[in-house]
Symmetry: C2
Subunit: 238 residues, 2 copies
């Protein structure tokens, strides 16, 4: 999930002999699709705007690339900053980082923010360990992440996390109540500040018209609340 | 961990105008380093041998590439098969697959081999979920893999897997006794046929002269036995 582009400054010679500079920044968002992001940005994404704003998508992350081209680095930088600020105003908390900041690094930094390190635990079904792997790939993660569960089967969700079997029976394993129960269960058993849960249909089999392949519920349990959100991701297994 | 090369047949026109064909196969091994594999293959790897045998390494897997170049596809194929057989005789069970077979696919196929599917569970420390992710990336894995544990901290190893705290104290978390106890613990708690455990030092910190970064113990619990092996891997975190 590393961003592909980093901030750069490129002085150019133009055809008409004048100096020119391109300055770029990339902002990363999570939680909405590319078309919804484009709608929110509206006029900022119009053709021939300078600085220009374009979007790319990878691993569920929609990134905005701001390219600013002016006669000097100073002017290009100032214009880039202004457009970046406009993007931030329109997207708010959807933006989690910029340039080479990966989502898991930002999460790690948030957990480390205060003097005491906040604890996070995970319970995964369809991702099979990927979530924990991304979190523990960040050096220093061991201070905030002590344990995680991979509960692939329904029995494992019940045995390891205390998800009631009758709720699975009633709603299916890929559902809001199960994402909530997994998040609450892993937080209680791990005695952590935060807990994340993921349950979904990775495919190639198991999809239905109501729950197609790519359907995912992500749950979050905090000291104050438990909530879950629904996503439908596209793309194949790796 | 997908192999980069697949078996191919390439008819060629040679300088002297005669027909020529190259046929290739790649064999994948795990468990020994490249130089030890080369030693075992001995004369098969000598320069200018035809078919030639060369090695590459990726993710701890040493792969042998057999290239056979002769005047016809039939001859090249027959010679390739003969050299492949010689490699198999020298390396035996070290070879787990060929061409585009990944290690996790071979493991999946072995678990599915009989009418009943054998069950596997995992307990990981330094890999943080990667082992379970690789296993569950194989379509159909859910029949054989129901649950896994990520026990990053010592407390998690004790709480979730029953690893005795005094054994961790005495030997350190990255040691043969802990790999054995993790494998036994996860097999008992998951009620599976097989269980794998991994404990190691991923770095960048935590290495010592006696246990450098890359030191890993892998444990395996089966219905009959529990054993562990020691590895020192090179390379960085991803």
């Amino acid at each position: 999930m590393k961003a592909m582009f980093t901030n750069f400054v490129l002085p150019l010679a133009t055809k008409n002999g004048g100096g020119a500079a391109i300055v770029s920044r990339t902002l990363h968002t999570f939680g909405l699709g590319e078309s919804t992001i484009a709608e929110k940005l509206g006029d900022l994404m119009r053709r021939n705007r300078n600085p220009s704003v374009g979007t790319t998508v990878a691993n569920g992350i929609v990134s905005l690339r701001v390219n600013s081209r002016f006669e000097s680095v100073e002017k290009a930088t100032a214009e880039m900053e202004e457009t970046t600020t406009l993007c931030r105003e329109k997207l708010g908390q959807l933006i989690f980082g910029q340039d080479d900041q990966a989502l898991e690094q930002v999460v790690g930094a948030l957990l480390h923010r205060d003097a005491k390190c906040l604890l996070l635990a995970t319970a995964e079904s369809c991702t099979g360990g990927l979530l924990a792997k991304l979190i523990t790939d960040v050096p220093g993660a061991s201070a905030c992440f002590h344990q995680g569960y991979i509960t692939y089967s329904n029995e494992a969700k019940t045995d390891l996390l205390g998800v009631p079997a009758d709720v699975i029976e009633r709603h299916g394993a890929v559902s809001e109540p199960i994402a909530l129960a997994m998040a609450s269960g892993v937080r209680a058993r791990s005695k952590t500040d935060y807990a994340l849960s993921i349950t979904g249909i990775a495919g190639p089999d198991g999809g239905t018209p109501a729950k197609p392949v790519g359907t995912v519920w992500i749950g979050l349990a905090t000291p104050d609340t438990v909530r879950a959100r629904h996503f439908v991701f596209t793309g194949d297994r790796p």
